[in-house]
Amino acid sequence: MKTLQFSEAIDDALAQAMAEDPRIIVLGEDVPQLRSSLLVRFGPGRVRGTPISESAFLGAGVTAAMAGLRPVVELYMIDFVGVAMDALLNHASKVEAFSGGQWKVPLVVRAPCGGGYGDGGQHEQSLWGWLAHIPGLSVVVPSNPADAGGLMLAALLAGGPVMFLEHKLLSETFLEFLGRGGRKTVKYDVPFEGRHGRVPSRWEPLPLGKAVVRRPGDTVTLVSLGVGVHRSLQAAAMLEPEGISVGVIDLRCVAPLDKDLLCKEVSRTGRVVVVDEDYISFGLSGEIAAILMEAGIQAGYGRVCTETTIPYARRLEEQVLPNVERICKKVRKLVAQPDPEKSLPDGLISTKK
């Protein structure tokens, strides 16, 4: 075991894989500087800077992967995927299906995501629901260094296209580069348990699509990912003295989604609140409601998500991104509602075990 910071853990796992597999290359804008530790160990042939041409180098990543390389393509921010969406939407995600399963695209796209440092709504989006909407893409959103490294290794071994999203509040390098800039005069609400932590000395891949229970609870289940996990844990701790037993699930992957754990926990507590930094409509939070309904689970449901374009001002941004206060409020409201079991309309039969 050793202690690493969040992005350091990802780089560490990536370096372990690169040392073992010469097909893995890293490319993206300013990568020689942003990943200089990888550059001096693996050389400029495997750690390549690119022009500001996302549609070209992400599109090239797709076929490079089809032809035998294992590219890790970096985007400066997931917001900028808009420029190159075609490579993911119409190519990376489609090749395996179009080829009747005969040709795979072992591509990893690594990109910082998320807000909380005042960079405005074109630079702080999450977009994991939007990406996971596309069949054929896996989407990973780790919440701590050990998961981040283990999931990076899993992404490299997955054999299909994986979006690996790295939250900027957890990433020591991106928060310093884009936020702090050497200053001691700014403060960010960084969840330190996610920022650094114990990691294995030798990385093993974690399974993709396996969620974990971060905190057991009997009354309400909070379902979240990334920074939202830490906000949820904080809310759960605050609600405990009020006699509300709140559990927290860390999804870790949006696609594939761990439906089994979700259904198991929610059928036990009978109440679920999704804490999702991505946009509220047509996304992960609605998907979770649909999964529970399809499984026939009758549960009280609420969600705390980003509902509008993220405003620039820190004061406004704090309200728009899911925060502890909003989570607590939603949980209290849900608990105060009559038990869904006892208030079923006539003719509906409970399936709760």
Binding site: E8, A15, Q16, M18, A19, E20, E29, D30, P32, Q33, S36, S37, L38, L39, V40, R41, F42, G43, P44, G45, R46, V47, G49, T50, P51, I52, S53, E54, S55, A56, D79, F80, G82, V83, Y117, G118, D119, G120, G121, Q122, H123, F177, L178, G179, R180, G181, G182, R183, T185, V186, K187, T309, P311, Y312, A313, R314, R315, L316
Partner: protein, 367 residues
């Protein structure tokens, strides 16, 4: 057409002006241009101070070093002309006449800011000035094409200006818009502000061929201008804007400049060379341990990696932005040297004005 060297370092000595530029022999009002530049400089220095004090949270890209370009172009704009700005649009909006107090309040995130605290410095909008900004590299191209189409259709005689950096010249949407503007003869002036750095990447690591050839490939008139001096920028802009106003289509201005603070405030590469004792150890430690780590490429390839890192640091150390003689303010001031007392008075009055703007912005926000 004037050719620039493919992938060359920024080189001011090679720059010539287009032959027709001096044709009309009109002189700009240097006092007015200097005033615009100086106000922008002092204003942005105040923004930098507020950023360092932590009153502005995230990234901050300033136009320090671009003043001659912005003044030389924006001084030609009239009512109905549009601006498509990049992530570095503060100076252009200020010179275009956007209220400096509400602009500053926006950067401070106050509800009475230009965009009510919702946009911030990368996402500034002023419908009154037909000015929009974006932090997506290259997006000023399509934005200016659309403004140009509206100008051509609804307001003949008006124009649209796109500001972007040389890094954006590898972004497909910008090149596509150059073709579209040429095809439809849109009244667009594409202005490439070239400081020779796309964050940490220099043109020789990102670009092949010349930007002049690219513009020529779309049939755009191309002018290469020394953006440290306001006079040639003003002259080139006059020619390009006049051409667009009379319906003779778009032009491309390639204007070279220096960014005095690098890509953005707190830029790590500049911190490393300005304060090596404080910054270098933390940056170098992981590099050294990684260099000797077991497993990885042969040592020769690792040394090639070290060379890449060194080259960027070396280029930062030798960079044009370190020389005060490249500062457009210093150069513009020389044009007015014959009247030192008038300069002194002008500068003192701008200083008072900017101090007043800052006080007003902060008071209003605190209230």
């Amino acid at each position: 057409l004037i050719q620039s060297q493919p992938g060359s370092f920024i080189s001011f000595s090679k720059i010539l002006y287009g032959g027709k530029l001096a044709r009309r022999g009109m002189e700009p009002d240097y006092w007015r241009l200097y005033e615009m530049m100086k106000r922008s400089r002092l204003y942005e220095e105040e923004v930098a101070r507020l950023w360092h004090e932590g009153r502005i949270s995230g990234e901050m890209h300033l136009g320090l070093g671009e003043e001659a370009i912005i003044a030389g172009i924006v001084s030609h704009l009239k009512e109905g002309d549009a601006l498509a700005l990049d992530h570095r649009g503060t100076a252009a909006l200020l010179m275009r006449g956007v209220d400096p107090v509400t602009l500053l309040r926006e950067m401070l995130g106050f509800p009475n800011g230009l965009c009510r605290g919702c946009g911030g410095h990368m996402h500034l909008f002023s419908p009154e000035h037909l000015a929009s900004s974006s932090g997506i590299v290259g997006s000023a191209g399509p934005a200016a094409a659309g403004f140009g189409l509206a100008a051509q259709t609804l307001r003949p005689g008006t124009v649209a200006v796109a500001f972007f950096g040389e890094g954006a010249m590898n972004q497909g949407m910008l090149l596509e818009s150059m073709n579209l503007a040429a095809l439809w003869k849109l009244p667009v002036i594409f202005v490439c502000k070239d400081d020779g750095w796309a964050i940490t990447t220099q043109p020789q690591a990102a670009t092949r061929g010349s930007l002049g050839d690219r513009a020529a490939g779309f049939g755009l008139p191309y002018l290469e201008v020394d953006g440290r001096d306001v006079k040639p920028v003003w002259e080139a802009a006059r020619q390009a804007i006049d051409t667009a106003r009379v319906g003779r289509g778009p032009s491309f201005l390639h204007v070279k400049c220096v960014h005095l603070e690098g890509h953005f405030l707190g830029f790590l590469l500049l911190r490393l060379v300005r304060k090596p004792l404080a910054e270098m150890p933390a940056a170098m430690k992981p590099l050294i341990s990684s260099l000797f780590m077991l497993g990885g490429s042969p040592f020769r390839q690792r040394l090639d990696g070290v060379r890449v890192v060194n080259a960027v640091l070396g280029a930062t150390r030798r960079d044009a932005r370190q020389k005060p003689s490249n500062d457009p303010l210093v150069r513009a001031r020389k044009l007015l040297a014959s009247e030192p007392e008038r300069i002194r008075k002008l500068e003192a009055s701008i200083k008072d004005e900017v101090r007043g703007i800052v006080n007003q912005a902060l008071e209003a926000g605190a209230a």
